[in-house]
Symmetry: C2
Subunit: 125 residues, 2 copies
């Protein structure tokens, strides 16, 4: 019990998610099988709680200013298989099974382009 | 040339990084070989430019309020092999070769714990 709060956050077993000044933390979604990064979004406490309670990924839409269940319109929900937490507990990795393309463009992953010599090229994902 | 700015950003070949209200975008570092997520950090324009110019990952430290070259103290620099850009160009994936453990705790990855039943457990990375 002599650990500093910082050490306890890094080394302890207590889940103490750290939200930033806007009340958000970062969530990286990876495919549970391939480990490919599918998307990156943000969670507030409400989205984190909803994700844990339902086992399906929820985020906070910064543009719409509200809770957003991934797939609520498309049906392409993300079933969370495992959640990884980083050292200072302000970022999560969600290992998920995706019910369809994750990107709203129809791409499997939102990261469908690579930066090369200053311009973007499509990649196979 | 009839595309909306939004469509052009999603489908075009022009690199138009989108920084948020704080002047930042998100960068997910993955191991170029294993594809494991190593860390997540933020870049402002200065950090992005430095990363592209040097081929080594630079970030903006929110806590220190300055440019931060990963490994500047530890020597554990991240050599960038490929940069992926997401649909709306506000997030990057950096596929990197790491010169040592990426986490300041000495762990290979910052994501060394998993959340299970409300508490954290160490995972093999």
């Amino acid at each position: 019990m002599n650990a500093t709060p910082e050490l306890d956050r890094e080394q302890g077993s207590a889940f103490q998610p750290k939200f930033d000044a806007a009340g958000l933390l970062s969530a990286v979604v990876v495919d549970a099988e391939s480990k490919a990064v599918l998307m990156l979004a943000f969670m507030d406490r409400e989205a984190l709680d909803a994700t844990i309670a339902t086992g399906e990924a929820h985020f906070h839409s910064r543009s719409r200013g509200r809770l957003w269940k991934k797939g609520e319109t498309s049906g392409h929900v993300l079933t969370v298989k495992r959640i990884l937490v980083d050292c200072d507990q302000d970022a999560l990795v969600l290992e998920c099974a995706a019910a369809g393309p994750t990107c709203h463009t129809g791409a499997v992953s939102c990261f469908y382009r690579t930066l090369r010599d200053g311009s973007l090229q499509n990649v196979k994902t």
